[in-house]
Amino acid sequence: MRRLLLIMFLGLMGLLIQSTLIRGLFPHIVVPNLLMVMCVFLAFYETSVAGACTAFVLGLLLDMCGGIVLGPWAGSFVLVFGAVAFVSQRIFVESPVAIMVTTFVCSIVANIVYSSLAYQVSRSEFSSPEIIALEAVLNALLCPLLFALLRKLLKRRDRQGGGKRYHFART
């Protein structure tokens, strides 16, 4: 439970980095979705119902940050989590290429699901293929680094907290 709370806190930090540092330094570029990468991480390493709930909360945080409508990101994150968790035992998570490809595909799927849900309620166009593709590439490039960072942080917490030993879903 503490581990999931830590992930949520890290999600909040991810939101902060996305909304201040990256946007402030590079105002004209597409920002990577760090929470999306965290959702894929959860699907690999927290394959449980609690993990699904955490993915939902991460998505909801992103929705709340937007302030227009609640739910589309939460829905897309949960779908991505479910799909990846379902096949995670067949993916070699120690290979950076495997996780990069998975993150790339998940980003595209999540953005399409988000766009579809958001369109249903606001009738606004959220379908820029360039933005979706660019974000997916950025997420894929960042995911090996973020995965390593998250694994390190969570392992350290487990050692300090004396909780259950950190384990990989499948190697």
Partner: protein, 282 residues
């Protein structure tokens, strides 16, 4: 092994249930805009201390950059700015003349009201985290008198409106967001329409009356009819007109007057109520 399969299906079931919950939330918050506003205010309040600190740090770096490294090419920029100041001084003198004339004419017509606005100055401390919503966070909130629906202006023109107000910060939806709409008219011809957001740094002008009279370079100002924005504020300039063919309305693109990527200080209009001018009472 069966246990692993059981776990996988349990997760799939939970994910499906949570997806249904997300669908319900989406439908609910679409009908009740306040729900999304409250959610945004909560996250805004959570992020506010971090945003303030990180923007101070970022501001420090930016200041060092501007003061030392960014001085390359300052002489050329100085010359351009001098020329611009001269042009603006001329324009200002002309506008003062027009304002005085307007004052006299109003006096003649016995129009006892003026459009003085009360406002609160604010600084941008954050942007939206996703690529789909065009919004910024400001360092003033409900404790400073800011409420949802208030208009926000920049140094060059309209910026957007407040969609969520936390005690110490607020979220501003930019005019370029897809869900934004402003009632606007052309400064010269008075042709009227709605300026809608169309993504980063772009807006489109829809439902335009007398669309044939619109030209590239026309300046769009707020009509004041929507009750959100004060009348006569510059929204943007018509950047292109795409004639799609007979019977179909042309696609009129508008470039916002304000540089939405680089703005720092904003003005939140806290009251649109007209103020009675003492001199005219007499």
């Amino acid at each position: 092994m069966p246990r692993a399969i059981d776990n996988r299906f349990r997760i799939a079931g939970a994910s499906l249930a949570l997806f249904c919950l997300a669908l319900f939330l989406t439908a609910y918050s679409a009908k009740n805009k306040q729900a999304a506003g409250i959610g945004a205010a909560i996250v805004q309040q959570l992020l506010h201390p971090f945003q303030t600190v990180s923007f101070k740090i970022y501001g420090g770096f930016a200041s060092v950059w501007d003061s030392y490294i960014g001085l390359v090419g300052a002489a050329e920029e100085n010359l351009t700015l001098r020329q611009r100041v001269e042009a603006l001084e001329n324009q200002n003198a002309h506008l003062m003349e027009v304002a005085q004339e307007n004052e006299r004419l109003r006096g003649l017509l016995k129009m006892g009201e003026d459009s003085k606005l009360s406002s609160v100055a604010a600084r941008v401390i954050g942007y939206d985290a996703s690529n789909w919503i065009q919004a910024v966070s400001i360092d003033r909130g409900s404790q400073h008198g800011i409420k949802e629906g208030m208009a926000v202006l920049g140094s060059s023109g309209v910026v957007g409106q407040v969609i969520a107000a936390a005690p110490l910060s607020a979220k501003v939806l930019l005019l370029t967001d897809h869900s934004s709409g402003i009632d606007a008219i052309i400064q010269g011809t008075r042709a009227r329409g709605i300026v809608e957001g169309a993504g980063p740094n772009e807006c489109v002008w829809r439902f335009v009356t007398e669309a044939d009279e619109v030209k590239v370079g026309d300046r769009l100002v707020t009509s004041g009819a929507d009750g959100v924005y004060p009348r006569g504020m510059l929204v943007g300039v018509v950047s292109s007109i795409d004639e799609r063919g007979k019977g179909v309305a042309p696609m009129i693109k508008v470039e916002p007057a304000e540089d939405l990527d680089r703005m720092e200080n904003l003005l939140v209009v806290t009251s649109l109520a007209p103020v009675v001018v003492e001199a005219r009472k007499k």
